[in-house]
């Protein structure tokens, strides 16, 4: 792969059309059209087919890992009820296990679970009551349909994750370009120090510090995404400002942690690209420095970052759980945490599955974006 890339690099550097730097809207449109003419459809199909074993493996892992600790949902539930002062007999526990099918072997439970998600037959009671062929089961912890539980926070989680990602890219890329073009300047050092600090300080720790400062300075800790008023009346234009205010701490905490990584990566790539022969050639031909940096060096430097989009998505979905708990954000992370604590394997399994699907889709998009950014990238194997 490395070899191919170098080959392509060489071709690219020797392409007079590219080094001319002429880029008209029609040419860009042509590139996009060319891109879609490629074997993209077969690539996407292949990737979607790859999802199936991937998701299967994930589902197996999730279901079995959740069941690894001693006990099951019923033992968690009994512990909770006992804490609440309720007396639960062994007979009650046995009845619950039978009711939820927890008295069956784990393998039987798994295939029943996954089978019902994939296809619940038309003649089943579930279908007759819910008119759906996909039975995600019943969340023990939340006492309702798993899909209803997931739905409550899915949209917020996706939007929140998208905003954080956008923030990360919008902040980190300009800083990275500045740092690479002003290497060893005060600005570069400042950005590096802030970057290292951001990476080094654990998110939950930074979150606590910012909550404390917010409380000290404003009298309000600004935790949670929504005010009680928003939770009753929803988010509208009149209270959107308050929502933005509440996004500040999560943006700083989650945004900066990822930002630092992107800055370091893009900066290093940029420094590499800035010293390459094609850059020198372009300079020798009188191409403006701005155009060299933005059109050629940056496009090449951004590739690893774009290809890492899936990983970032994944870390934002699941890695932000601790921060979301600390900041009391109404996202899926804390929901997953509660499900895991309660050994609610249907809910936990479904959340992880949904996140996995979103991440896999994210990776697919990142691959497509990568190809759009860099015409040298193809989807089928072999040399050109």
């Amino acid at each position: 792969m490395e070899e191919n890339a170098n080959k392509i690099d060489d071709m690219h550097e020797n392409d007079p059309k590219e080094t001319n730097g002429k880029s008209t809207p029609s040419r860009i449109f042509g590139q996009v059209r060319e891109f879609f003419k490629k074997d993209l459809v077969s690539y996407i199909t292949k990737r979607i087919l790859m999802f199936i074993p991937t998701l299967f493996l994930i589902s197996v892992l999730v279901f079995f890992v959740i069941q690894l600790p001693p006990g099951d949902y019923v033992s968690s539930e009994i512990a909770r009820l006992t804490t609440e002062g309720e007396l639960v007999t062994q007979a009650d526990a046995d009845a619950l296990r039978e009711q939820y099918g927890l008295d069956q072997p784990v393998i039987v439970q798994y295939f029943k679970w996954i089978g019902d998600i994939i296809w619940t037959p038309t003649d089943s009671q579930y279908y007759r009551l819910n008119h759906s062929h996909h039975n995600w089961k019943y969340s023990f912890k939340f006492s309702k349909n798993v899909w209803d539980v997931i739905n409550e926070r899915l949209a917020t989680t996706v939007i929140f994750t998208a905003v954080i990602m956008l923030f990360q890219y919008l902040v980190s890329i300009p800083i990275a370009i500045y740092s690479s073009t002003h290497q060893y300047s005060v600005g570069d050092y400042t950005a590096s120090v802030i970057g290292f600090l951001g990476t080094a300080i654990p998110n939950f720790c930074l979150a606590i510090i910012l909550m404390y400062l917010s409380y000290k300075w404003t009298g309000n800790s600004n935790t949670g995404l929504f005010t009680p008023e928003m939770k009753v009346n929803g988010v509208h234009l009149y209270n959107f400002g308050e929502l933005c205010k509440r996004m500040i701490i999560p943006l700083i905490v989650l945004g900066t942690s990822g930002t630092c990584g992107i800055i370091r990566s893009v900066r290093a790539q940029m420094l590499d690209e800035v010293g390459r022969q094609y850059t020198l050639t372009a300079r020798a031909k009188g191409v403006s420095e701005r155009k060299i940096i933005m059109k050629y060096c940056f496009r090449a430097a951004i590739n690893p970052t774009v290809s890492g989009l899936g990983g970032i998505l994944s870390s934002l979905f699941s890695g932000s759980t601790v921060t979301a708990i600390v900041l009391d954000l109404e996202l899926q992370g804390p929901q997953l945490f509660e499900a895991l604590k309660a050994q609610d394997m249907y809910l936990a399994g479904a959340i992880v599955m949904v996140q996995a699907v979103l991440v896999v889709i994210g990776i697919l998009f990142s691959d497509i974006a990568l190809a759009l950014l860099d015409p040298r990238i193809r989807y089928s194997g072999g040399g050109r």
Binding site: Q90, K231, D328
Partner: protein, 693 residues
């Protein structure tokens, strides 16, 4: 500041009164809400009085209900004007049957409050929390363990306790305006409870003590029912055990959700003829989306307070607004019941607040931040070490003290039914327990763990509580390592080369303590471990997730524990759950499998012997005894056995708990008792709280 606070808190604890817990209020055969402590014949005179720091200071004046004129919240007044709601007089029960709420659970006169919009609370989302905040029971408890007719107008029993009669309030209505009457009780009993549709057939309050058969419920008239038992059903078994959280259901709501498959023949209700699937479909149409009948029964019939849209007789009910109508919502809203049947002494229909906003936060520290910010009005069960810092930030709040019913903090107990006979014999020897008790310097533990706030003590009833015995409270509390070592050697233990005692056969002795996360064991263990080491007792501590911990306990796979999940004792045997006092259930760590033996009638568990067996014998006698004095004597005999054996040892006195309350919130009772019997926060009576203007 900290010392001042400690002094304040200590003073609060000292004045907590638990006296008179042992007896019940029902010396006569009839109980009404005219006589019990909760409803005195006095009321504040200054109608509409508002203060910044409300205290009931009015001169007691009798309140003749017939002379009261009733008023309601502005919100409801508006609805009445718009013709959407009947007038308040038509929503309340008949005048003679209206409940006039005049005192709090400690017997203190209530202030007359004012109507307000929202009371903001922190909320954990537990299955029982909504019940505790907004719901009522047929018969309710005062903080001293006495009880009174609450939903009921009155109740009585015959001379031999075989027939209990309930009188309902005429004209009382469900939250949707339908009549609340005897049919709602017969329907609940015969269609939901006897059939085990509500999944609570194991509940023994309505079963005969000897035969285990269900009582026969008869509807005498629209507002009277009787329960008939084959054998005497004493107050402790009927009221204290029953306490009647469940005893009714809105028949007009449930009638199409009862399956034919669970029908039990009775004289009041015919089989609905509905298939299980039809029932689930009907339930789904009402927003009750459950996949099985058992789930429907458990979540909607048993935990009825967690169901949005179901008619209720409670002061507050879950909103029907999507997104806020579940206990799992990040903001769960309880709305006032416009048909609530209680008024204050000035005739204002209760509750005072339109809504309770139950804010679910991810962590205690987040709740505390919101309290500091003024977002929530009441912060419950605040850890003692957090109070000083919160008070430093929040000036306009007050500390309210709750007495714990626990017999001491940081209790340690052993597995007396452990399979390893060497350990079982050692734990059964009281000299071993005494050694582990006296080898610890409690003064030092008190200083290190609680800044001296929790006093050195033993696992015994607290001062002022029923059964308090100074000798017991101080038993085995003197610090004497040399004596502890002698006691250990008297148990047959021999000092090993590693300076720890071994069994006589040379095998290692290690007391491996089990604990569950956040139960305080991590705090005290490092402090007491050094004393155990000094006495030559090797110990370890393993803290586990609570469910894992419980499972090990249930499997009898444990040696000893710190901070048991269900600790020994309580308010009193008469005024509390009985399981923590005697080995009758698979519940408490201190009796291990002995309790399982009783609960399963000998099918599983370990048959109790010695004083454990005596506890059971005394308990059986106590259950059967109708004479109040003799019952108390038997209860004290049970206490004597606890004193003699100290199956559980404690190092410090009970901690109690503390609520921080915005000082503008009126009628919040102080010196309440935190107990399962009283359903914890329920005894606050949230429907009487108001915010002073």
């Amino acid at each position: 500041m900290k010392k001042k606070l400690m002094a304040l808190l200590l003073a609060g604890v000292m004045v907590v009164s638990l006296a008179a817990c042992g007896g019940s209020s029902t010396n006569t055969n009839t109980n009404t809400n005219d006589t019990p402590k909760n409803t005195p014949t006095t009321a504040p005179a200054e109608t509409g009085e508002t203060k910044s720091t409300p205290e009931p200071t009015a001169t007691p004046t009798p309140v003749p209900v017939e002379k009261l004129s009733f008023s309601e919240s502005p919100e409801l007044e508006q609805l009445v004007k718009e013709g959407k709601l009947p007038s308040v007089e038509n929503r309340l029960p008949n005048k003679d049957d209206i409940y006039v709420e005049q005192v709090d659970a400690t017997g203190k006169n209530l202030s007359i409050g004012n109507y307000d919009d929202t009371l903001n609370l922190s909320f954990g989302g537990g299955s029982w929390e909504i019940y505790r905040l907004g719901f009522d029971r047929m018969i309710a408890f005062n903080a001293d363990g006495t009880y009174y007719a609450n939903v009921l107008k009155s109740y009585e029993h015959n001379a031999d306790y075989t027939v209990w009669t309930f009188h309902l309030r005429e004209g009382m209505k469900w939250s949707d305006g339908e009549d609340f009457d005897a049919d709602d009780i017969t329907f609940w009993y015969y269609m939901m409870h006897v059939t085990n549709f509500d999944t609570k057939a194991s509940w023994t309050a309505l079963k005969d003590e000897v035969t285990g058969n269900f009582a026969v419920l008869k509807k005498v008239d629209k507002y009277t029912v009787t329960w008939t038992f084959e054998n005497p059903k004493l107050e402790s078994a009927f009221i204290t055990n029953g306490d009647f959280k469940w005893c009714w259901a809105p028949e007009h709501y449930w009638h199409d959700m009862i399956p034919a498959s669970m029908y039990v023949q009775n004289e009041y209700w015919e089989n609905t003829g509905l298939s299980d699937e039809q029932v689930l479909a009907n339930a789904k149409a009402k927003g009750l989306d459950y996949s099985t009948l058992k789930d429907l029964g458990k979540q909607a019939a048993y935990y009825y307070w967690n169901v949005s849209g179901m008619p209720t007789i409670a002061a507050f009910m879950l909103t029907t607004k999507e997104g806020n109508n579940s206990r799992n919502s990040s903001l769960c809203i309880l709305e006032r019941n416009p048909y609530y049947w209680k008024v204050d002494a000035a005739g204002n229909q209760l509750p005072y607040f339109d809504n309770l906003y139950l804010n679910k936060y991810g962590d205690v520290s987040i709740s505390q931040l919101h309290f500091r910010s003024g977002d929530i009005d009441i912060l419950g069960s605040v850890a003692m070490e957090d109070i000083a810092s919160i008070l430093a930030d929040v000036k306009d709040c007050k500390v309210y003290t709750w007495a714990g019913s626990s017999w001491g903090s940081y209790q340690v107990t052993f597995n007396y039914t452990i399979n390893d006979t060497k350990y079982a014999e050692l734990f059964a020897n009281s000299a071993f327990r005494q050694a582990l008790s006296i080898c610890v310097d409690r003064e030092n533990v008190s200083e290190v763990v609680s800044n001296g706030f929790l006093l050195p003590g033993q696992a015994a009833p607290a001062e002022g509580g029923f059964g308090y015995d100074e000798e017991w409270a101080k038993k085995w509390t003197e610090y004497d390592v040399a004596a502890a070592k002698k006691l250990l050697e008297s148990c047959g233990l021999v000092m090993g080369k590693d300076n720890y005692y071994d069994f006589a056969d040379g095998t290692d002795l290690s007391v491996d303590f089990l604990a569950y996360n956040d139960n305080g064991a991590d705090t005290i263990y490092p402090v007491i471990q050094k004393y155990f080491d000094a006495a030559g007792i090797k110990t370890t501590l393993k803290s586990l997730e609570v469910s894992t911990y419980d499972q090990l306990i249930d499997n009898n796979d444990w040696v000893a524990c710190i901070g048991p999940h269900t600790s020994v004792g309580g308010v009193s045997l008469s005024a509390d759950r009985q399981e923590p006092f005697v080995p009758i259930a698979q519940l408490c760590e201190w009796y291990g499998e002995y309790g399982t033996y009783y609960q399963t009638s000998g099918e599983r568990g370990v048959k109790p012997t010695g004083d454990m067996a005596k506890l059971v014998e005394l308990f059986e006698q106590w259950k059967a005894e109708t004479d109040r004095d003799k019952r108390e004597a038997l209860e004290l005999q049970i206490y004597e056995l606890h004193k003699k054996n100290l199956w559980t040892i404690a190092y410090l006195t009970s901690a109690g708990s503390y609520d921080l309350v915005n000082e503008k919130i009126g009628n919040y009772a102080n010196n309440l008792v935190s107990s399962d019997l009283f359903q914890y926060a329920q005894i606050v009576h949230y429907f009487t709280l108001y915010r002073a203007k």
